[in-house]
């Protein structure tokens, strides 16, 4: 009981966590209800004149072709959150699967999984994503999530493996074995709960990483072919001369949103770390 209320106390006092989650919340709300505030579809040619600066009619101005930037922005935000959640989630899951297995089993299984992890870690995953994406002609958002998730796991696996490794030598794991518990149940009921805070941190970092990776893919034009995204907005902006024409409203919002979301995630990460890790608490 005491322990819980202590965590709560620090949670409510931790500015980094509060600011971070506040920013995420604002963008999340924008992504959820934003699209219903605009009558334009993201790719519709809403304005006969292109390249309009922000106005009452077009809150964030229009693109070179007269598309509503606000509509693109809020829809792009949605895609960003989907990628973060699913891509980052998948990365975390795969990382957990490999990390728990390697760390708990140890021995030769660990050696093999570890070598595999190291290999995937060294290969620049984005390069792999690029060639995969390049060969696929039709790409959906889900596919992007899948690819990102399947390539982003190695560092998570490494981190989880190390934690599992130190936890499995603890006596309570031995005691669980003496109670006849099966390995899967020991991982689920004894080891994972102890790493909950850690797994949350891993997920947050995977979330942010997935968003950045997706933005990069989209920017090169290898993102989903059928929707808008923040990375795609930046690509269009660069491709169609937003720079020379000074159309800052076209390329500033998407990049700013990504930076703010990822930055807020990092801030939450640090905040949570301070809460979970008493050593870092400031008294």
């Amino acid at each position: 009981m005491k322990k819980r209320s202590e965590v709560l106390y620090f949670t409510l006092r931790n500015k980094k966590l509060l600011i971070g989650s506040g920013i995420i919340l604002i963008f999340l709300i924008l992504a959820l209800i934003g699209p219903s505030f605009t009558q334009y579809k993201p790719l519709d040619y809403a304005s006969p004149r292109g390249a309009e600066p922000p106005s009452a009619k077009f809150w964030m101005g229009t693109t070179f072709f007269g598309q509503d930037v606000f509509s693109q922005f809020v829809n792009g935000l949605r895609a960003t959150f989907v990628v973060g959640l699913l891509g980052g989630g998948l990365g975390t899951l795969v990382g957990m699967l490999i990390g728990f297995t390697a760390g708990y089993r140890g021995g030769i299984v660990d050696e093999i999984l570890n070598a595999f992890t190291n290999i995937v870690l060294v290969i620049p995953t984005l390069a792999v994503l690029l060639i995969i994406a390049a060969y696929l002609q039709v790409r959906s958002l889900m596919m992007e999530c899948l690819f990102i998730g399947l390539t982003a796991w190695p560092w998570a696996a490494r981190a989880i493996r190390a934690q599992t490794f130190s936890l499995r030598t603890r006596d309570f794991v031995d005691l669980a074995k003496l109670s006849g518990m099966k390995p899967l149940r020991i991982i689920r009921d004894e080891i994972a709960p102890n790493m909950m805070s850690y797994l949350v941190l891993v997920f947050i970092l995977q979330f942010g990483g997935a968003i950045l990776t997706a933005a990069t893919l989209d920017f090169i034009g290898l993102g989903p072919t059928n929707t808008i995204s923040l990375g795609l907005m930046m690509q269009y902006a660069v491709l169609w001369g937003a720079l020379p024409f000074g159309m800052w409203w076209w390329f500033v919002p998407p990049g700013l949103a990504i930076t703010a979301i990822v930055g807020a995630l990092y801030s939450m990460n640090v905040g949570l770390d301070e809460i979970f890790n008493p050593k870092l608490r400031e008294i």
Partner: protein, 332 residues
């Protein structure tokens, strides 16, 4: 120490093997017929003989009539002969030649940006950990910097310094009006074009390493050897020096681990600034469905990252006495 090296070499060899296999697998197992896709959707050469030549070339190289294992072996054989095929987009230049032209720009851009970013970031992070006030300012800034997508910072810099202020060019490696010569004018022009892409990679790297070092050093300042120094009344400078020396080790390993991500970031930066390195080339290859060039770029990036990783491992070996004396099997 020999164990450590052998282990590393085995891992790198395996990685390279796997990467080449992936490179080989992808065009073969992706939906659709890559040759037909390419030839129907891209008109690379205008004359019929060239198209026919290419078709024959592809048919032979993909060798779809051959059994898979033979295709695979041939791929390796060609690779060792330095044959990566012929670019369709820059037909009939061999892919290897195309790559060779781009590489100097990459080296010129990436090596200074990564090394300087790493070095100054670490120095600055250690510096920030000194005082609470500095830390309060540096920490949020660094977090914002690492959260920034590479291309966005590139776009912002290009817009502000290139368009608004007009003091830096925003595209290419040198002015169109110049020809590559060994003159001072050309060298200055080269630097002028180089600066913004360099700065946008450097700044983001700087932020990331600054945070990393700051967190590491705070951890090291809590370590028991630091507590002992404090108990014996050593001045803060010595404690900090030791903490820095210890904290830099994981940062070296970190550089090896993050290299892939950094290189990927640099690729898109090149795209923003139309800087003629591998990244720019890769984009062109993708947009033009030039599969051989894509494969070549991929292999080249992998090879570059692997070599850089190995160099970092060697450096680590020199810096950390524990690996050198063979006391620790696996520390990196």
């Amino acid at each position: 120490m020999r164990r450590y090296l052998i282990r590393k070499i085995v891992i790198y060899a395996l990685t390279f093997f796997l990467a080449v296999t992936v490179d080989w697998l992808i065009p073969r197992f992706m939906p659709g017929d890559p040759i037909r896709n390419m030839l129907t959707r891209v008109s690379v050469a205008s004359n019929a003989t060239a198209i026919q030549m290419m078709y024959d070339y592809y048919a032979r190289l993909f060798g779809l009539d051959l059994p898979l294992w033979q295709q695979y072996l041939n791929f390796w054989k060609a690779l060792f002969q330095g044959d990566l095929g012929i670019s369709t987009y820059l037909f009939p230049t061999p892919v290897v030649d195309v790559l060779k032209r781009a590489v100097p720009y990459d080296v010129f851009l990436l090596v200074p940006a990564i090394l300087l970013g790493w070095y100054t970031g670490n120095k600055f992070g250690a510096f920030a950990a000194r005082s609470k006030r500095l830390d309060n300012f540096v920490l949020p800034l660094s977090y914002i910097l690492t959260a920034t997508p590479y291309m966005w910072l590139g776009i912002l810099l290009a817009w502000f310094f290139g368009i608004v202020l007009g003091i830096f060019p925003i595209a290419g490696a040198y002015s169109f009006s110049l020809r590559p010569t060994l003159s001072l004018t050309f060298a200055l022009d080269l630097l002028h074009h180089w600066f913004l892409p360099f700065a946008s990679i450097f700044i983001i790297e700087f932020g990331g390493w600054a945070i990393g070092m700051r967190n590491m050093i705070i951890y090291e300042l809590e370590a028991e050897y630091s507590r002992y120094l404090n108990a014996l009344g050593s001045p803060k400078s010595l404690v900090r020096k030791y903490a820095f020396n210890n904290a830099i080790l994981p940062q070296i390993t970190g550089l090896a681990l993050k290299l892939g991500v950094i290189v990927a970031g640099a690729l898109v930066t090149e795209v923003v600034f139309s800087y003629p390195g591998i990244g720019y080339l890769l984009l062109a290859a993708i947009q033009n469905q030039d599969y051989f060039l894509i494969q070549g770029c991929f292999l080249f990036i992998i090879l570059g990252v692997l070599i850089a990783n190995f160099v970092i491992d060697l450096v680590y070996l020199v810096v950390d006495p524990r690996t050198r004396r063979g006391m620790v099997g696996e520390s990196a």
